[in-house]
């Protein structure tokens, strides 16, 4: 297989604040091939958004110390200076976020915001290019949308505008951080379908950050489950979701209400909460919440083991393999 488009190796994000050091992302490794679909899932506070931001050192990771490697198209973005990063953000990696209204400038017309993403296009052609992009994103009346201010558009329409801006520079990788969490289910479906088809049409890879396992199930090919700043399990989506190995993945799956489950079937929750980065447990980070924890789990961090193309970071897996 050819070299991956993005290869993240042992990425760690460390913040130093008032003399206190915290490492909310520690030793994260994963890869995305050209055109690939990878999801990173986990509860809030697991470090999944920070991982996404640090690929191009977007805030707040611009204040952090990053270690490891982020090889994008052969270049380690962690070694790039400001101009180099700007080039990657412009043409290599584009982002869409959960709250489009927060990312759009409220006092600028949509067309002017998109034009800013089209620096190489001549002024006279910008409007046409903008309308073309908006048409691609399936907006019903692209010419009207181009002249609108963000507040005149619905949440789903704003998210389409964000996508148009992200696509303007023909990125090779689209990072979608909870892109549909604020949207209604039918709009969510349309936006996700759109991302799918645009990614197909433009040969673009997608890194989806989400807490919604349902979205991952139907659309992504690989999944990494993050907990307390580490990837605890990864593999092909169908295999991880049908045969979860890590107790955290199992816990997440059991907590999701299913349409076909009998009514009043109690949901299994994961007791406790994600520890904060200044208090990562010494052994397995999941041990305080893990129903299968053994004494050694509390003292020794489990190694990552690999079998059948899947990685898992749990003592139980280790013994099962030996």
């Amino acid at each position: 297989m050819s070299a991956p488009l993005l290869q993240v190796e042992k990425l760690a994000v460390t913040f130093r604040q008032e003399g206190v050091e915290t490492t909310p992302v520690r030793s994260v490794s994963f890869a995305i091939h050209a055109g690939g679909r990878v999801a990173v899932v986990g509860e809030s506070g697991c470090g999944k958004s920070l991982t996404a931001m640090s690929l191009t050192r977007l805030p707040p990771t611009d204040r952090a110390q990053l270690s490891g490697k982020v090889l994008f198209d052969g270049t380690d973005t962690l070694t790039l200076n400001r101009d180099g990063l700007a080039r990657v953000r412009g043409h290599g990696i584009a982002y869409v976020f959960q709250d489009p209204s927060a990312s759009l400038n409220p006092v600028m017309r949509v067309r002017d915001q998109i034009a800013e993403c089209l620096p190489g296009v001549r002024r006279a052609e910008r409007l046409a290019a903008t309308v073309r992009l908006l048409t691609q994103t399936g907006l019903p009346d692209p010419a009207r949308a181009a002249n609108a201010y963000p507040c005149e558009l619905s949440g789903g329409q704003q998210q389409r505008v964000m996508l148009a801006m992200a696509l303007a520079a023909r990125p090779k990788l689209l990072v979608a951080d909870e892109p549909t969490t604020a949207l209604d289910v039918t709009t969510q479906r349309h936006v996700l379908d759109l991302i799918d088809s645009l990614a197909d049409a433009c040969q673009m890879a997608v890194l989806l950050i989400t807490h919604n396992l349902g979205i991952v199930a139907g659309r992504m090919s690989r999944i990494s489950v993050m907990y307390a700043g580490q990837i605890v399990e990864s593999g092909a989506v169908a295999s991880v979701l049908t045969q979860p190995r890590h107790p955290y993945t199992r816990g997440l799956l059991a907590a999701v209400p299913l349409l076909d489950a009998p009514r009043n079937a109690p949901l299994r929750d994961i007791p406790g909460t994600v520890p904060s980065p200044d208090a990562w447990p010494a052994g397995c980070a999941f041990a305080p919440r893990c129903p299968a924890a053994q004494p050694r789990c509390h003292n020794l961090p489990p190694p990552e083991t690999e079998s059948d193309g899947r990685q898992c970071r749990c003592w139980l897996e280790g013994t099962a393999c030996c």
């Binding site: 039918t186 969510q188 139907g218 489950a261 009514r263 009043n264 929750d269």
Partner: protein, 261 residues
């Protein structure tokens, strides 16, 4: 039947603008101890409907009966009793709590203002309520910002239970929470409902959540119920195209995986 709604209409009027009909003739009933789900997307009128049921928004037309009594004909005292018996829990629990009040003060205030119990018994009642919603006594003196999203939601349940309601309307109570916390709150809702014989109206855009909790469900769109019936029937044999569209749009793990295989 605890609550009976007949042809309810809610209209918002702004001077100089066309009136907006948020609810355009909705009828349903909820039995005592039942769990009624209302699903629909933003702008469908479900929140206006809820606000009207709890008496925050007047109805433009229609009849709302509580325990057989028309709320529109109630005298002031009876209406106050009704307002107390019907309580609402919101999605943004943290935002609905007063940031300058501790958990203890929040619950005490409700007990005092509504004279729910004699002053000497307040401390005991606060502990009892916290216990009910699964909060440890250690959070008594915490402020909302020191609590997690799930804990805030529990406090709002405690505050609501302090009024000894008969009917609770929960408006997207878990959609802002992580799935594991969501599971815990949903289990709490179910236990409270059973133990206190509460009647529940659950408003949600998440059909799986509604399916998990409710025995009856209505699907709302553009101010009307397009479908209304037993949850099992609506989910297993949806009649209206919009219900089918909603069901198909749900990113359900089991269904997506089996579809892809």
């Amino acid at each position: 039947m605890l609550l009976n709604v007949q042809d309810l209409r809610v209209t918002y009027r702004t001077p100089g603008q066309k009136p907006v009909e948020a609810v355009r003739g909705v009828s349903f009933g909820v039995d005592t101890g039942g769990a009624f789900g209302i699903v629909g997307e933003s702008g469908c009128g479900k929140s206006s409907l809820a606000r009207t049921i709890i008496g925050l928004q007047p109805a433009a037309a229609g009849v709302l009966r509580f325990e057989g009594h028309d709320t529109g004909q109630m005298d002031a005292a009876a209406f106050t009793r009704y307002r107390r018996a019907v309580q609402m829990v919101f999605q943004d629990a943290a935002g609905s709590l007063n940031p300058r009040m501790t958990v203890r003060q929040t619950v005490e205030e409700v007990l005092c203002v509504h004279r729910m119990c004699p002053p000497g018994k307040i401390t005991g009642r606060v502990s009892e309520l916290l216990d009910r919603v699964g909060l440890p006594e250690t959070v008594l003196d915490a402020y909302p910002r020191e609590l997690s999203g799930g804990q805030c939601q529990r406090v709002s349940f405690a505050r609501c239970l302090a009024l000894e309601p008969r009917l609770i309307i929960a408006d997207e109570p878990v959609s802002a929470l992580d799935v594991s916390v969501q599971a815990r709150i949903l289990n709490l809702v179910r236990t409270l409902q059973k133990e206190l014989d509460l009647t529940l109206i659950l408003i949600s855009h998440d059909l799986a959540v509604v399916r998990n909790i409710c025995d009856h469900v209505a699907v709302m769109r553009a101010g009307v119920f397009v479908e209304n019936g037993k949850a099992s029937e609506v989910f297993d044999a949806p009649q209206h195209p919009y219900t089918r569209e909603l069901l198909a749009a749900i990113p359900d793990i089991a269904r997506s995986l089996s579809r892809n295989q």
